[in-house]
């Protein structure tokens, strides 16, 4: 299990890195925690790697007033440990308990994780719930895409071949917003069989705004708009949550495979969603 040969570029400046992406066979090497295993299995054989690890000033997690900004080279471990995330996005911290293991988090980057868009990865769901803004940079400029528009399918995103996800900006939640997160995987740290993530903004005892996403279930992490609209404007209630979960379980479209049936994943949506919503109500205070 050895990777095929490739050309190696290690630009020192962002402009130089972006210029190198004009070649369609180039792949960005950030943390490498998903790409390198695929290369070792020769499931990925890029002809050129553009190693961005030496680019300056991209390894930040910073408070930008209304939002927290996370740079392309911020490692999972750094994000996990950051005060900004702990303070404003406890849902991310909760999710990180389920994401890989420390040596992988030391090296892997959150932005790289999003670009890889594994259907069973947790953060694509979380970013959609948080409606994170993704800055995609290329030699010709930059554009901002919201997370709900970024994930297109299994390992498919809105990013173009010559673009790089340089920054993630996550707006701080409105007051009265609670969160919930639940996951079932074979082992802690494995890719999820089902992740359910939600935020609920409560106002005068009613749900003012619900955001619910799942991953591990459909081709990519998905916001469940029907569930959200069933929750919006309602008073939180056990029966409501059970009904919403039951509908969501029917609405998702999981694949059937040898070890994990589609029915099982639907069951997980049905089981986990009420727990997540209840936790969101409780943490909304």
């Amino acid at each position: 299990m050895k990777p095929a040969a490739f050309e190696y570029e290690c630009p020192q400046q962002l402009d130089a890195a972006l210029a190198l992406l004009n070649d369609a066979n180039s792949r960005i090497l950030a943390g490498g925690q998903s790409l390198v295993p695929m290369m070792n299995f020769r499931l990925a054989t890029p002809s050129r790697l553009v190693d961005i690890n030496k680019l300056p000033d991209l390894d930040y997690v910073r408070d930008a007033g209304d939002a927290v900004e996370i740079g392309a080279l911020a490692r999972h471990a750094q994000v996990y440990a950051s005060n900004e995330v702990a303070q404003h996005f406890p849902i991310m911290k909760a999710a990180y308990e389920w994401i890989a293991h420390s040596a992988v988090r030391n090296r892997g980057t959150l932005c790289g994780n999003l670009c890889h868009a594994d259907p069973a990865s947790e953060m694509p769901a979380i970013m959609q719930v948080l409606e994170a803004q993704l800055t995609l940079s290329s030699a010709s400029g930059a554009r901002v895409v919201v997370a709900t528009d970024f994930f297109k399918g299994s390992y498919e995103t809105a990013i173009a071949a010559d673009e790089m996800l340089t920054m993630l900006s996550i707006s701080k939640p409105a007051p009265g917003t609670g969160w919930g997160f639940e996951e079932v995987a074979m082992r802690k740290g494995d890719y999820a069989w089902c992740t359910v993530a939600a935020t609920l903004q409560l106002s005068s005892g009613k749900i003012a705004s619900a955001r619910v996403a799942v991953s591990g279930v459909d081709a990519c992490a998905t916001r469940l708009s029907d569930a959200e609209s069933s929750l919006d404007g309602q008073a939180p209630d056990t029966e409501l949550f059970a009904n919403v979960a039951a509908s969501a379980a029917l609405a998702v479209d999981p694949a059937d495979n040898v070890a994990v049936s589609a029915d099982y994943r639907r069951d997980l949506v049905r089981t986990l969603m009420p727990r997540v919503l209840q936790a969101a109500v409780e943490s909304a205070g």
């Binding site: 299990m1 040969a5 190696y8 295993p37 070792n40 190693d51 293991h101 992988v104």
Partner: protein, 167 residues
């Protein structure tokens, strides 16, 4: 593909090498630097046997290319002890039977080193979490956990003694 010159520090010693870009750091350490204490168990980043310290952080050496370590500081288990003596963490693994076949051991030692640098008095759950990215098929982990607890105590006592001396 052209080889690339790299210059790095391994276990405190400066090393220079010409490496093909695709050479995995694990292969570089084992076969080029001839430090076989780092083991390769899966080459897809799951088992953790190949963990080494890169600039103080535990990483999978099968998921890095050697070329990426230009300028880096690398630590392997060969660099833990000195002059034929074992490091207190290695000592604790010996005393508490924290290894059987020894194949996962380098990764466990690296995980323990990183953990204890950050948390000198970890709880059992913190130890479990810290080594949960390292597969062991021999021990059932119990004695590894015990060894890390014991190592923590050794290091705390050792540091205490060092502080007393310097004071």
């Amino acid at each position: 593909m052209d080889k690339v010159a790299i210059n790095l520090t391994v276990n405190g010693r400066n090393r220079q090498a010409l490496v093909p870009p695709r050479m995995l750091l694990s292969d570089f350490i084992r076969h080029e630097l001839e430090l076989p204490g780092t083991h390769v168990g899966c080459e897809h980043g799951v088992c953790g046997s190949c963990n080494v310290l890169v600039d103080g952080k535990a990483v999978r050496s099968c998921l890095m290319f050697a070329v990426q370590t230009d300028g880096a500081r690398i630590g392997t288990i060969e660099g833990m002890g000195a002059d034929g003596s074992l490091h207190p963490i290695q000592e604790a693994f010996w005393e508490e039977h924290g290894l059987q076949c020894g194949f996962c051991t380098p990764g466990m030692l690296v995980a323990a080193t990183e953990l204890l640098a950050e948390k000198p008095d970890p709880s059992e759950e913190e130890i479990r979490e810290a080594i949960s990215g390292n597969l062991c098929r021999c021990t059932g982990y119990e004695f590894i956990i015990k060894a890390i607890r014991s190592a923590a105590q050794k290091l705390r006592e050792g540091n205490g003694a060092a502080q007393t001396e310097s004071a």
